[in-house]
Symmetry: C2
Subunit: 352 residues, 2 copies
């Protein structure tokens, strides 16, 4: 008897459809035996859809997506500065709306310097860490406002909201992740300046730490953390941090570890009350869309995270191994998006 997984696929804008196409090819190849069947429903969402219909994400869209077992997303967002998009905020209205509505409180972003990758930091030893970024609070909540907008007396505020409830659950997840890895957890915040939010994060980490005596805990201010990411990335195992700091640190982590083209992520709801969503960290890159220039590796590695999340550990391992082997063999010659996907599919075929 085969297991069926109902998968929502949101290719999105720009290079999103190209990289998702390759990711789906890999997903189908690794499940070719038929033990698990992914039933896909494609949702046409993003800047393109908005330009056609005026909708970003309707209640019906959201309800339909929420009914799946998992979500694979490419990238969303139109060309920056496109005047036709001025009235819409695809990022807030679609991507963040999904993360918040589906309670994706763990934004999981692994970083690894793969053998063979040309990274300025490749000589820094084994770089293999994961950022556990809070996904439903902090400066991302949108609780701000502006008065006297458009005048020289305008005041625009943004409120970062942090709750013990929200911080505790993501910190606990991070400790569990650390316990299953190299047992080191680094809290990144800016407690010396953001004393209210920072005080809460610090207290919760101290409290949860008492339950994980085998995990070593340290703390870095976010500014110092950027330095260590460049000078000594091997020092990190699990980083736990807030929504905004996590956003910044993971792009930097991508840059130092061989490029954002390799950075995968999972927006995870560990309770399972809603489907989790997997997506490359990179954006829609409209400037190179449709040119077969995008590297689908991040999307393919996101499929590995998806498989892992669904308990399909063997399939996840196979995808990771195929990608690792492909990266190790990459020469200087550029390949098309499809060529990268095909090469990884081929390795999967010969591995089985």
């Amino acid at each position: 008897m085969s297991r069926t997984v109902s998968l929502a696929v949101i290719p999105g804008d720009g290079i999103g459809p190209e990289v998702v196409g390759e990711a789906i090819k890999v997903l189908e190849a690794v499940t070719a035996s038929g033990d698990v069947v992914f039933e896909q429903t494609h949702y046409s969402l993003g800047a393109g859809r908005f330009l056609e219909t005026g909708d970003v994400l309707t209640d019906d869209d959201l309800a339909a997506i929420a009914a799946h077992d998992a979500i694979l997303l490419g990238a969303v967002g139109g060309t920056p500065g496109d005047p036709r998009l001025a009235g819409a905020n695809i990022e807030r209205g679609l991507l963040l709306k999904l993360r918040f509505s589906l309670d994706h409180y763990v934004n999981l972003r692994p970083t690894k310097i793969y053998p063979g990758v040309a990274s300025p930091l490749a000589e820094h030893g084994d770089v293999d860490f994961v950022v556990v970024r809070e996904g439903t609070e902090g400066p991302y909540v949108g609780n701000g406002g502006t008065i006297r907008q458009g005048t020289s007396a305008e005041i625009a505020n943004e409120v970062s909201v942090n709750t013990a409830y929200g911080v505790e659950r993501v910190v606990r997840y991070a400790f569990e992740a650390a316990a299953a890895r190299r047992s080191k957890l680094t809290l990144v915040h800016k407690t010396n300046v953001l004393t209210f939010a920072g005080g809460l994060w610090k207290r919760v980490v101290d409290e949860v730490a008492a339950e994980f005596p085998a995990v070593t805990v340290d703390y870095l201010h976010v500014d110092a953390a950027t330095i260590f990411l460049v000078t000594d990335p091997a020092r990190f195992d699990v980083i736990v941090t807030d929504n905004l700091f996590g956003d910044i640190l993971t792009d930097l982590a991508g840059a130092i570890s061989g490029g954002i083209g390799l950075a995968a992520s999972g927006n995870i709801n560990p309770s399972g009350s809603f489907p989790s969503m997997f997506e490359p960290v990179h954006g829609s890159a409209p400037d190179i869309a449709g040119q077969q220039k995008a590297d689908p590796t991040a999307a393919i590695l996101s499929v590995a995270l998806l498989l892992e999340h669904l308990g399909l550990a063997d399939e996840a391992r196979l995808v990771n191994e195929a990608v690792t082997a492909d990266i190790a063999d990459r020469g200087a010659e550029a390949r098309t998006t499809t060529q990268v996907g095909d090469a990884i599919v081929e390795r999967l075929a010969s591995a089985s």
Copy 2:
């Protein structure tokens, strides 16, 4: 007739006194002719003072410091986690209090890869940019709070306050700086998420840009900016950004350009209503304090910024040249804090 400058010196904690000592030696050497006389008043402030007296910065301290023409600061802050400092926040109560009270709305942080510096990015061409970080608003205002503190129902908020008044003056400064350099300005923010604050920043930049038609303007989200700082730092000329993003980007900029030991900064009040303050970007590093291990170069380059600010362009140039020559000649052998200061003083002596 000689000009007299009344200088407040705040050596601070940790390595602060060591690096300030060398910076003062350089200041005295470059003004040895006597045309300008720096009258120094030393203020004992920081974690050390707090532990002795319980005071962080009294109203009298502040009034006395505000009466000077300029301020040179080393670094403040005790050992992280020191329980005796639990009740005090030296950063907020001293450093940020000075920046806010003295209306240091421009936090100027130049980055340059000096010839001879071992940077993983040295092959990236001419890296020479300046971050104009807003210094008196944003998430740094301390307008937050917490309820049900210490309980599992705690809510801790931080409010980022952004005013057209505050944004406009720093953006204008940045455009003027760009016009006097390579005429390129990059706004860094996170307008797609922080739509209220981001909208204000974007609007003000667009408006001021109209007055500087020769300056090319572009925009990067803060996460993308960290990537470009690593992969293509030569693309930047002037970056203008908010208080928190500026904090993060300038530590990263230090790391990629040869280390935070070379990063100088000025907290500038361009109106002159209060004295400006010059300080290395690095912290007090209590772990290496008193060991002659700290690199005083950032403090010495901060003296160059101070001289520049006071209109002493020749003296500023001499210090910059001496530092540049010293950096170019640095071998692999470690020198003590004093040796670095002495070497730069010697170069100044032989230059005149």
